[in-house]
Symmetry: C2
């Protein structure tokens, strides 16, 4: 058991960092898959994390921290000396840098920016302004750009020189700009190699498409779906070239968005959660959504209190109330999931509420009928009373139709009014269907009370 | 209102297809973003869909059908003459081709394969064998490969010639193989341009990494996260080169997987759903999961029936049963969502059940306490009975801890035993927490009955 291979990766990292052996630590880290390295650094105590990062060269540390989810990366960086942190942040790709700085507390970000090179800091400040789901928030500024009069030979020399300096430069395309920094064209770097050295780049380039800095992620996806480009230039509203968005950054942002939607749909709000966060942070993130939900739940259940007399007379109904509440939630959430996906794929538009409702109600009628007959049958068989079956089954059947109608259309309506459908659809759905379900079963029971007792 | 811009895209497509004007239809389609084109074709009736595809050239039709979700693409293709369908399928990228054929009914796939070129059909049959989340299922076979003795000049000529033929060839790398088809190296096509024409490719290439055909998606993600490669060769277990997987295909598959997980978590099982599917298909997909759920729900609620006497004595409890059931579900589902994400990111391993449980129980205790005090307070205030508050609040607090324990660990356990955690976690969670919640509140009430009445 004392075998070295039994040691956990984070223990290896800790002891290598403690011995201050940067080269071995680097070699060890490069032997791990990125997800293993991330997993290991997240398992270390805050001091050991800082120790590992300062033992590595700033460039290596930047590579590692870029793979860590933004929020945890921010915690790690905040725990370091601003000077050490600044050296690492300096080496990060500009899009990752901006994401990280946006995640830091204002004071800490300020302290780090002050330690950074002035130009780099200025740029980082600019980029951190953007939301992370628009072109400005996804772009990098490490790319090649030349004025139109530069010759192919000069451009090539410059590229070779800079590429050595900065490992993370985007190397497939170079962009050609006018004297006032407007995009006029794009060159494949490999074509540059084949051009006569004396030619101005303007004669080698082709005209370039571009997007504005506020272009949303969904449009960028559509852009790259339609074109086999590896990147697109980003311009401000006056047409000045600001940076480039890589197709791979768009893909990554989309995966992250799908994951974050999943978390938010289940009520993890106010930041992603991973289990290495402090308990109190995780508690706060979860309880905010739960508190809203319990209040909505209490409001919905108070409908039951209005029918206490009926319930006392037919106590068996108490068994069916949670079933109707749960099943309506299930049916409605299926409709929510389909609407969320259709919105993401762009095959339904937020204004198509009526069309979606028509499609849902037909499925809801079939599902409601099936579930209603099933539950009604069970109720009848249990108490030997067909009226009980009718009340319970009828209420579930109708409420299933209500649930799919709400589940299908609410995400579209929320989207239309600029509310995040992932967070809000679930609570709205369950509250309305609970109120409606309790009302249906208890009012039917009140009407048929003579047959039930 | 008769303005042409008012016409829906699918109406334009229908009328252009009806007039048989393939060139105009092509021009019109290329003016739409891909998602708009997909949305439009899905809105057409089956006959009009077939008409549109046959009016386009097979290559254009293949481009369009590649963007349509596999299942709907299969429906459209099955509605065409096998001969027409085969012409389109022939033009598809090999990975898309395999996905589509796997989606078709056996007979229809057979009929189409018989109409295809023998070699292409053979290859498609091979690829359709693979699951769609392993390297074999994600690879394309449209790439360049040369024997090591071929010269750079010959290779380049061949590439230029083939690239013209087949628009969809992967053009960034060419692979070098031994006489027995083993991967020996890789060349960047742009480097080939710079090499002396007489050099054998073996002297231009660098050794290449590769993956086997059964490498799962998660490992491919890790592979590309660690390396700035655009593609990796795929070999069979004897080392023979079968195809290449592009980094972009891995990214796309990951996004699709996240979306599909979201659907399955909400109970859309047995195939994705979009609303243009027939009602009966959608009904069947949804009802299978709902039927299982209602049976589990009935089983859980039958715990209530065991305590009918207590419930008759303290009818107010009936109001709180659905609240406890719903809230425990909410708390537990938060834990499920975090576990699902940590599994996807690879920062938790399926065997770390105990560690996850420790992390969950601390958050669960805080959440449970908060929610318990809240609900207990409401119950006390409503009936002016502190004992009722204690029973209801205490049961919710304890059950919240049960719920997060189950929610956090069940996805890991399911994964370990090869069951899809997206589909099964929810039903298991709600059933266990319902049973436990009903038991806790009703047995506490029975114990404290003297103080409650």
């Amino acid at each position: 058991m004392a075998n070295e291979t039994e040691t956990y990766p984070w223990e290896r990292m800790r002891s290598l960092a403690d011995s201050g052996d940067g080269a071995s630590l680097e070699t060890y880290l490069s032997s791990l898959e990125p997800r293993e390295a991330v997993r290991a650094i997240l398992r270390l105590e805050p001091d050991a994390q800082a120790k590992v990062l300062t033992t590595l060269s700033p460039a290596e540390a930047a590579d590692l921290i870029e793979d860590v989810p933004d929020e945890q990366a921010a915690d790690i960086i905040e725990n370091m000396q601003p000077k050490d942190a600044a050296e690492i942040v300096n080496e990060m790709m500009s899009d990752e840098q901006a994401d990280l700085l946006a995640e830091l507390k204002e004071d800490n970000a300020q302290a780090i920016l002050e330690e950074m090179e002035v130009e780099e800091a200025e740029e980082a400040r600019e980029l951190a302004r953007y939301a992370d789901d628009v072109a400005g928030g996804l772009m990098i500024t490490e790319f090649f750009k030349f004025h139109e009069g530069v010759t192919a030979g000069e451009a090539l020399d410059k590229i070779n020189e800079m590429a050595e300096d900065i490992d993370e430069h985007f190397k497939r395309y170079a962009y050609v700009v006018s004297p006032l920094d407007r995009v006029v064209g794009v060159i494949q770097v490999r074509d540059l190699v084949l051009s006569p050295r004396y030619k101005p780049v303007a004669d080698v380039m082709v005209p370039s498409l571009f997007v504005t800095d506020e272009t949303p992620l969904s449009e960028l996806k559509s852009f790259f779906d339609a074109r086999p480009f590896a990147a697109v230039p980003v311009v401000d509203r006056r047409g000045r070239l600001l940076g480039i968005v890589r197709q791979s950054a768009v893909q990554t942002a989309l995966s992250e968005q799908a994951e974050r939607d999943m978390l938010r749909m289940q009520g993890i709000v106010g930041g992603d959660e991973i289990r290495d966060l402090p308990t109190v942070t995780r508690f706060r993130r979860r309880i905010s959504w739960l508190s809203v939900n319990i209040l909505l739940n209490i409001a919905a259940a108070s409908v039951i209190a209005l029918y206490i007399d009926t319930l006392s007379a037919v106590i068996a109904l108490a068994v069916f109330l949670p079933i109707i509440s749960d099943m309506s939630g299930c049916s409605g959430n299926q409709a929510v999931a389909v609407s969320m996906r259709e919105l993401t794929l762009g095959i339904v538009k937020p204004f198509e509420v009526f069309r979606v409702w028509l499609k849902e109600i037909s499925v809801g009628a079939l599902n409601g009928l099936t579930l209603g007959i099933l539950l009604g049958g069970v109720a009848w068989a249990w108490k030997g009373n067909p009226a009980l079956g009718l009340v319970v089954g009828g209420a579930l059947a109708l409420n299933t139709m209500v649930a799919v109608s709400i589940g299908g259309t609410v995400p579209l309506l929320l989207k239309r009014f600029g509310v995040d459908p992932a967070v809000a659809s679930g609570p709205i759905l369950t509250t309305v269907t609970d109120i409606c379900g309790f009302f249906l079963v208890l009012s039917f029971a009140t009407l048929m009370l003579a047959h039930l007792t």
